[in-house]
């Protein structure tokens, strides 16, 4: 390997990235966009569910119940209707996810029977939100019932569903907003690096094939190793800049606590970069057109990192076979490391297992990548 050739290759590649608007956008805008999108948009908490109310009694009692819905942070009363057809239209149009109907004899039920029934109509097209909404509705009604009981009448209030049978149990695994974000954002660093690293490198060799510059490159004395390293060095630098960008974003914008040390973070980030860049390079060498390469890169990096790394969906809640699969997903280890470094403040020693796995992965991918490119047009 000759430093001069390596340098010429790296300089050329840097100039090309610098002049390619598509690459530049992936490198610089993508991290910020991902951070903002996932930081704000990807929340596991459900709040401000739009609610429509139909109060058929209009008594002091019924209004008191609806006030409880109004006061809850989980519900926003967006509409008050006066009849069933109107209510049906509101649900059909998607104006509300939940409709609460208070019967005309609500006060009587409560005082005479000692229990009252409130009807909850739920739009269950999104069954997850529907269940959560019912759970919250149940909690609101229960809260109201407790108040009424305190008023010494001792009634019981039950909620019933018309469209969907109620499975009403409060979900304890929902974090409050801030905690959910803390859980997700460290993993976004992995997402950004997987996306940016593999996307950019997937273009690098296929671009030469597509534009015909490969023919000339192959005719020169440059070695495959020089091609690989020369091409990847600029992207390695970009990966690091992006990782730092994400870190700054996470800590200073989203105020995610950073309790670990930077050395552990940067060392494992370097390993993860090697894996992701190596995979992108392997794809680029194999698939000789840019579009195909970038599609496949998306498939083998983003998809597993999103779904199987534990970035947002806890691995121990997955079916057994899927859990086994996650051990083959390289980003699983990095996400574990990221979360531990950020939230638990663990260092290299405590993270020996995932760090070792990352190291093995990076060596294996680097070895494969170094052998992938052959200087031949055959």
């Amino acid at each position: 390997m000759r430093i001069g050739r390596l340098k010429a290759m790296a300089v050329k590649e840097t100039l090309q990235v610098w002049r390619d608007p598509r690459s530049l956008m992936i490198a610089l805008l993508m991290p910020a966009m991902q951070m903002l999108l996932l930081g704000y948009g990807f929340s596991l908490d459900i709040k401000h569910i739009p609610v429509c109310t139909y109060d058929r009694e209009n008594s002091q009692q019924s209004q008191a119940l609806l006030k409880h819905f109004q006061a809850s942070q989980y519900f926003d009363i967006v509409r008050v209707v006066g009849n069933y057809p109107e209510l049906t239209r509101a649900v059909d149009a998607g104006n509300c996810r939940l409709a609460v109907v208070v019967p005309p004899d609500f006060t009587e039920q409560v005082s005479v029977l000692g229990s009252g029934k409130v009807q909850a109509i739920v739009d269950a097209t999104d069954d997850n939100t529907a269940q959560v909404a019912l759970g919250y509705a149940q909690a609101v009604v229960a809260g109201f019932a407790a108040e009424v009981q305190l008023d010494a009448t001792g009634p019981q209030v039950q909620a019933a569903a018309m469209i969907q049978p109620l499975s009403v149990e409060p979900r304890v695994w929902f974090n409050e907003d801030l905690e959910s974000r803390n859980f997700i954002i460290p993993g976004v660093v992995a997402m950004v690096m997987a996306l940016v690293g593999a996307q950019l490198t997937s273009l690098t060799v296929s671009r030469e094939w597509e534009r015909g510059t490969m023919e000339l490159l192959v005719s020169t004395p440059v070695t495959p190793l020089e091609v690989m390293l020369g091409k990847l060095i600029p992207y390695f630098a970009i990966s690091f800049i992006d990782a730092t960008l994400c870190l700054v974003f996470a800590v200073f914008w989203f105020a995610v606590p950073f309790r670990g040390d930077l050395l552990t973070l940067f060392l494992t980030t370097a390993m993860f970069s090697v894996v992701v860049l190596g995979i992108g390079y392997l794809i680029s060498v194999t698939i000789r057109n840019q579009l195909g390469a970038s599609q496949i890169a998306l498939l083998v990096t983003m998809l597993p990192t999103t779904l199987l790394s534990g970035f947002a969906f806890p691995i121990d809640q997955m079916p057994g076979i899927i859990q086994v699969m996650t051990y083959f997903v390289y980003s699983r280890y990095y996400v574990t490391i990221l979360k531990s470094v950020f939230l638990k403040g663990l260092g290299l020693g405590a993270l020996a297992m995932p760090v070792l796995a990352m190291a093995i992965y990076s060596v294996a991918v680097a070895a494969l990548a170094a052998r992938a490119f052959h200087k031949s047009l055959d």
Partner: protein, 318 residues
């Protein structure tokens, strides 16, 4: 000629792609400082041969030495000694003139002190002085072509492979390009250049005619024109052409009849004897030749004739 070892030796070179034979047992020797032109139609195997000689494709069979190195076994050694211009323009369009030159200078490890001088030479040669910072994508065809040559000779290789370097370039630029090739040859550089322009073949020391992967003939343009036809060439003007061809084909001493515009080019064993005999033969059929005369064959005549007889030989063999 001195006893210097040949720059390029091809020995029964074969390249097959699946069942298709692109290059079929091609052999030749090229001496140092020679300009040899590969002439042949598209798909004849010119590019494939050049790519094998550059070490870009592995020969299926046969052997080739470039600068004394085996192209299959020592491709890296070969690459140190050659410059290559591919058929498709293959410099980096998104880099400037200077950046491209610096890149290839770095890849070929041209010493820093020498690089500045070589870059100046290449830029002057390409006529790009003052445009060092222009993106290559903004250059017109002729400039691109000359810049590609500049990049290929930056490291002063003793052997140059140019694959259709002038295709798609205006005549003025083509002439300039050939001037450059002659200058390089005068400096001792061996040049193997492919083209499908017949007039360019005249600029070569020797010409190799390739058809359907086979080497049909090798020789200097003069030799080929004198002996390539295997006879003398007559120009005959006699209308209607169709009837005349019917009469002339198969006439004693006639080897080949080809249409050239409004007239016929007829290859005969003996030009002076045939002129009168053919005039009489045409007259017998009621055809009056307005013109019959011996002419100098062009390379195109030779090429058409050789390709035709090669095809006939191929058909007989099959």
């Amino acid at each position: 000629m001195t006893a210097a070892p040949p720059s390029i030796v091809a020995d029964e070179l074969v390249k097959r792609f699946g069942t298709f034979t692109a290059v079929d047992r091609v052999s030749f020797r090229i001496a140092a400082g020679e300009i040899v032109g590969f002439i042949g139609p598209n798909g004849a195997g010119k590019s494939t041969t050049i790519r094998m000689l550059c070490g870009l494709l592995r020969p299926t069979a046969g052997r080739a030495l470039v600068a004394g190195y085996d192209v299959a076994r020592e491709p890296e050694q070969v690459r140190q000694h050659i410059g290559y211009m591919s058929q498709k323009f293959s410099l980096y369009n998104d880099l400037t003139v200077g950046e491209n030159l610096r890149f290839f200078g770095g890849i070929y490890r041209v010493p820093k002190a020498r690089l500045a001088e070589r870059m100046r030479f290449a830029i002057d040669m390409a006529g790009l002085t003052g445009r060092e910072d222009a993106l290559v994508s903004t250059l017109a065809g002729g400039w691109k072509q000359r810049l590609a040559l500049g990049c290929a000779i930056l490291h002063t290789p003793p052997i140059l492979f140019l694959d259709e370097p002038t295709s798609g370039v205006d005549p003025e630029s083509r002439r300039r390009f050939w001037d450059l090739i002659h200058h390089l040859s005068e400096d001792g550089v061996t040049v193997l250049v492919s083209t499908h322009y017949m007039d360019e073949a005249e600029f070569c020391n020797r010409v190799a005619l390739i058809n359907q992967g086979r080497l049909v003939a090798v020789g200097s343009p003069v030799e080929l024109k004198q002996h390539g036809l295997g006879g003398d060439l007559l120009l005959i003007e006699c209308l209607p052409l169709g009837a005349s061809i019917g009469v002339l084909e198969g006439a004693p001493g006639v080897r080949d009849v080809a249409v050239f515009g409004n007239s016929l080019h007829v290859v005969v064993d003996n030009g002076s004897e045939a002129q009168e005999a053919l005039r009489l033969r045409l007259a017998d059929q009621g055809l009056a030749a307005t013109r019959i005369e011996a002419i100098e064959p062009t390379l195109e005549d030779v090429f058409v004739r050789l390709v035709a007889s090669d095809a006939a030989a191929g058909a007989r063999a099959a």
